[in-house]
């Protein structure tokens, strides 16, 4: 087997695994969310299909797949069809550079260790930000092409919200990048090895707590999750940008949203929580565990917090979060320069 073929096959397998996993995660995240919220609200949630309703996502999928695909007559057909795809594709793409583990021989089945990431590019962080920022097109175009004022408002809100919070998000990460001195995600993970103060691991969440809080808050906004879910606010915009969608297109928007949640959690894990690093046991387990904790927090937030008003959202983003991110960055830069910690 030639080396090229080997690499190609390895790559294809990895892509397949990641893709399948993300689909699975997206499906079961819905289940998880329904269960968790039900628990928080002291009710049962899905119970009928399978034990603990575990087969509920599969039933939902089959239902959505076979539903009639309605396309309203007044929409802009081309964009209406394109929008869901534009929404879901960047969600998958963003995951390409996330290192979800160290290296593996898959229990000795492989002849040599394989690194557990799809690609390792030198501008990894920028890549993730770039790709995730493309996700907004799906929402915006869906909102516009539906030719429906609620949808349009949803699209508008979404784009404004994205632009507003992306700034703070990028700035919150710059602190970490200053300390690492590289945009490569594997470098970032590697620099979190060891201990800050035993038994406290040298994760950036402990060095950059403010950065982490800002990042996570912005991640909520970027993924349109409560309390920042204004683009799809059911109560005021009748589900916003996707109110005209049904069947698989509707499913694709949901898939995009949940995969984005997973991506955001994975990025937060990588940047602040040491990624796949852990004391013992296989690294992907640690990684998935941390991501699941963050996903739980996402759901927890949705269950607990009321939605922002739109002006509150903007005020919060520009007048609170952004200055805070700047302050964090300046303090970090000064401290790093003073302590010689810069990368």
């Amino acid at each position: 087997m030639s080396e090229l073929m080997e690499a190609l096959i390895t790559m294809l397998v990895k892509v397949g695994v990641v893709f399948a996993t993300l689909l699975f995660v997206a499906a079961y995240l819905v289940w998880l969310e329904r269960k968790v919220i039900a628990d928080i609200q002291v009710r049962w949630g899905p119970t009928r299909v399978g034990p603990f309703g575990l087969l509920q996502p599969i039933a939902d999928g089959i239902k959505l797949f076979f539903k009639e695909d309605l396309i309203p007559g007044h929409v802009d057909r081309a964009l209406f069809l394109l929008a869901p795809a534009l929404s879901v594709i960047p969600a998958f793409l963003a995951f390409a550079v996330v290192p979800f583990g160290g290296t593996t021989t898959l229990f000795g089945l492989l002849p040599k260790p394989v690194p557990m990431y799809l690609a390792d590019i030198d501008v990894g962080v920028l890549y993730v930000f770039g790709i995730t920022s493309l996700g907004v097109y799906g929402i915006v175009l869906a909102g516009w092409s539906s030719n429906n004022k609620y949808s349009l408002l949803g699209g508008l809100r979404s784009s404004a919200q994205m632009i507003s919070y992306e700034l703070s998000m990028s700035l919150s990460v710059v602190g970490v990048l200053l300390l690492v001195g590289s945009l490569r995600l594997t470098d970032i993970v590697r620099s979190q090895e060891g201990f800050l103060l035993w038994p406290l691991p040298k994760w950036f969440v402990f060095i950059q707590p403010v950065g982490f809080v800002i990042f996570f808050t912005c991640a909520l906004a970027e993924t349109n999750r409560a309390p920042f879910d204004l683009p799809e606010a059911e109560t005021e915009l009748v589900a916003g940008f996707h109110s005209e969608y049904s069947s698989m297109k509707f499913a694709m928007f949901f898939m995009a949203e949940y995969i984005n949640m997973a991506t955001a959690s994975a990025m937060a894990t990588t940047l602040f929580l040491g990624g796949p690093l852990g004391p013992l046991g296989p690294s992907p387990v640690w990684f998935v565990g941390k991501v699941l904790v963050l996903l739980f927090v996402f759901i927890w937030f949705r269950a607990s917090l009321p939605r922002f008003r739109y002006d509150q959202l903007m005020t919060f983003g520009w007048k609170r979060l952004l200055p805070l991110a700047f302050a964090n960055l300046i303090v970090t830069a000064v401290a790093a320069a003073a302590l010689g910690m810069g990368g």
Partner: protein
């Protein structure tokens, strides 16, 4: 292989560039512009300009074009069905002619110069990386870099002033 990728991306860029200009609705123009930019981003990877690629995606596709779409939607313009004005044809004719002459000049100049073009050197280590660009920005190009920050500040202030309702 590389040539094939280039040909594909160039074709995408050129075709969608044409479509940017001839679309009747601004939303489609914006979309095709995004596609053009995406194709250019691909070409940047071919040219080993990774940082530029990332910034292209992040700034142009991620921010500037979102802003364009935002404005298009905010204004919610109807399709461009305004009637032709008598001078439209003349203008298009003159403009097109001038543009043809311009590009002709560019290509001619290019052909004159192309013969003298030395074969490309192999990329030196560190070419196109964030680190190299950062070092250049903070050493050789420090002053323009600072000036850029002033420009951005001015733009922020200008945009905020313009966006005030009382204006005009």
């Amino acid at each position: 292989m590389e040539l094939a990728i280039f040909a594909g991306l160039a074709a995408v860029a050129a075709v969608s560039g044409v479509l940017v200009v001839i679309q009747r609705h601004a939303v489609y123009s914006a979309l095709f512009l995004i596609i053009t930019m995406g194709a250019l981003a691909g070409l940047y990877i071919l040219l080993e300009a990774h940082f530029v690629w990332a910034v292209q995606v992040l700034v142009y596709a991620g921010a500037i074009m979102v802003l364009f779409l935002f404005v298009i939607m905010l204004l919610n313009l109807p399709r461009e069905d305004v009637p032709w004005r008598p001078d439209d044809f003349r203008r298009i004719l003159i403009g097109g002619a001038l543009a043809v002459v311009l590009v002709g000049e560019l290509v001619l100049a290019l052909l004159f110069q192309a013969g003298e073009q030395a074969p490309a050197l192999p990329a030196s280590p560190g070419f196109g990386t964030t680190e190299t660009i950062g070092r250049l920005l903070f050493t050789e190009f420090l002053f323009p870099f600072e000036v850029t920050s002033v420009i951005l500040l001015v733009a922020i202030v200008g945009a905020m002033v313009l966006a005030k309702k009382q204006l005009l």
